[in-house]
């Protein structure tokens, strides 16, 4: 009986010791697709994992503009902190009671699928331009906006050269 009491006491002591780490631990969610987790804070260091929109991560350490995280894969590394969100914004990842209740996950996931990359003009917008007899050049200019693609590589090169984006603050 005494042994059981001591065991319970030890368990309680263990829990008390555990509480500070529980309170300091933080769950966050990836807010963009293809977010790189790197070995060091520099985005030029070795990529250890690539995260998808909505993936859940555990924040292990914080610096000015980067967080060290543990991904669901178990891999750890650094992520540009402004690509993480307190709230789940669609995609996979673990459950979040609040976003499930508010429907934010569903809306954001839909937004990600419809708001992305190249898309044509919508029928409603086409009809509007026709009915108002707007110069086709204006309609074509919007289609050109839709068609213009900036590659991830070009964007990163631009950011690296200017020390902005993920390359900022260093």
């Amino acid at each position: 009986m005494l042994a059981v009491r001591r065991s319970i006491t030890t368990a309680i002591v263990g829990l008390v010791l555990l509480v500070p780490s529980l309170l300091s631990a933080q769950t966050m969610y990836v807010s963009k697709d293809e977010v790189k987790v790197t070995e060091e804070k520099s985005p030029m260091s070795r990529v250890v994992d690539t995260l998808r929109l909505g993936d859940q991560v555990r924040v292990l350490e914080k610096s000015d503009r980067h967080y060290k995280i543990r991904a669901q894969s178990g891999k750890t590394g650094w992520v540009f902190k402004f690509k993480l969100s307190d709230q789940k914004v669609g995609g996979g990842g673990g459950g979040d009671m609040l976003s499930g209740l508010t429907g934010e996950t569903r809306i954001a996931a839909r937004e990600a699928s419809t708001g992305g990359s190249i898309r044509g003009l919508k029928e409603t917008s086409e009809h509007y331009a026709e009915s108002k007899q707007i110069d086709p050049a204006s309609r074509n200019a919007v289609q050109k906006m839709e068609d213009r693609a900036i590659s991830r590589e070009d964007l990163l090169k631009f950011q690296r050269e200017g020390s902005v984006g993920e390359f900022s603050g260093g």
Binding site: A3, S7, T10, A11, G14, L15, L18, L22, L23, A25, Q26, T27, K32, D64, K81, F82, K83, S85, D86, Q87, V89, G90, G94, D96, M97, R110, E111, A112, T114, G115, R119, L121, K122, E123, T124, S125, H127, Y128, A129, K132, I134, D135, A137, S138, R139, A141, V142, K144, M145, R148, I150, D154, L155, F158, Q159, S163, V164, G165, S168, G169
Partner: protein, 314 residues
């Protein structure tokens, strides 16, 4: 035996604790933090007002519209938030009007790509990063920039030529991105009398009733190109814009500095900013206060040389 039992107890507790981490995070996080923007480590704009009479000013309705707004409150409340598909359709039609009214496209692919690179750098750290933002230059000498719903953002060549560096460009584009992330136009439209008796605003409903869609675009273009949004929404876009530019690693003084240029030109420049935006001196005063909070960003770049070389002969 007792240590084995104790270890087992701790492991079981840890397992349960791990599953409840998300829940604990929600519990231990201060409520003020939850209300803040999704990001961490940033200054935040003020919280919205809560009273019905305050809603008119906050959400963009003019005072004279508040009475009508109240009358239509029941109908408005039944309308669901405008969805992304519908937002993009509105944005595309407003974008067509933008090209149509402001001199068409400024045909410089290299410069347009540059504006897109700066804009995307800002937009991907905004509060709505999952949307694809598209940036274009309008062939107009007037200084102007505006955002249509759905992420269609415009800046005139007249405004670009007034800027001194890339941080100013980032600040201006970030202000426009903020209008999209905060859905300023959508919220204003949703509370306008045009949609007061509309219970469904879907793409299929708009296709069935093109006049309704046309009325919405008329209201949107009138708001964007003539009357301007409510001034509180402009202040909010300034505050969020400075925040997004800071997150992107630009010197947060960019927008402030452009507003200072604008103020120095007030009364002389050919600018729609003066008719569609609140008093520049009031904006500048507030923007100075917001930018000054980012003390740790004092060494962030302005990128003056890169801006000059990319502007080239434009």
């Amino acid at each position: 035996m007792k240590w084995a039992l104790a270890t087992l107890s701790i492991v079981l507790i840890m397992g349960a604790a791990d599953r409840s981490w998300s829940f604990l995070d929600q519990l231990v996080k201060p409520s003020a933090e939850k209300k803040q923007s999704q990001r961490t480590g940033q200054a935040q704009p003020g919280e919205p007002k809560g009273l019905v009479d305050g809603l008119g000013g906050l959400l963009g309705a003019k005072e004279k519209d508040i009475g009508l707004f109240k009358k239509g409150l029941k109908a408005v409340q039944s309308l669901q938030p405008i969805g992304v598909e519908e937002e993009i359709a509105i944005g595309q039609a407003v974008a067509i009007e933008a090209f149509n009214r402001f001199g068409g496209e400024y045909k410089d692919e290299t410069l347009t790509t540059y504006v897109n690179l700066v804009g995307k750098t800002v937009a991907e750290v905004s509060d709505r990063p999952e949307l694809t933002y598209r940036f274009a230059i309008l062939n107009s000498r007037e200084q102007n920039a505006f955002a249509a719903p759905g992420g269609y953002i415009f800046v005139t060549i007249g405004l670009l030529k007034t800027l001194k560096n890339e941080a100013e460009l980032a600040g201006v584009l970030a202000h426009e991105v903020a209008h999209v992330t905060q859905k300023h136009m959508l919220k204003t439209l949703q509370r306008s009398t045009i949609l007061a008796n509309v219970s469904e605003f879907s793409l299929s409903a708009m296709n069935k009733d093109p006049q309704l869609f046309s009325n919405v675009i008329d209201a949107a273009t009138d708001m964007l190109f003539e009357k301007g949004l409510d001034k509180e929404l402009e202040f909010e876009a300034d505050t969020y814009g400075i925040e997004f530019a800071y997150r992107a690693g630009y010197h947060p003084n960019g927008l402030r500095d452009y507003l200072a240029t604008l103020q120095s030109q007030e009364g002389t420049a050919d600018s729609l900013f003066f008719s569609t935006h609140p008093s520049t001196s009031e904006r500048l005063g507030r923007a100075k206060g917001v930018a000054a909070r980012y003390t740790e960003a004092s060494k962030f770049p302005y990128l003056t040389e890169r801006f000059r070389s990319r502007m080239g002969a434009a």
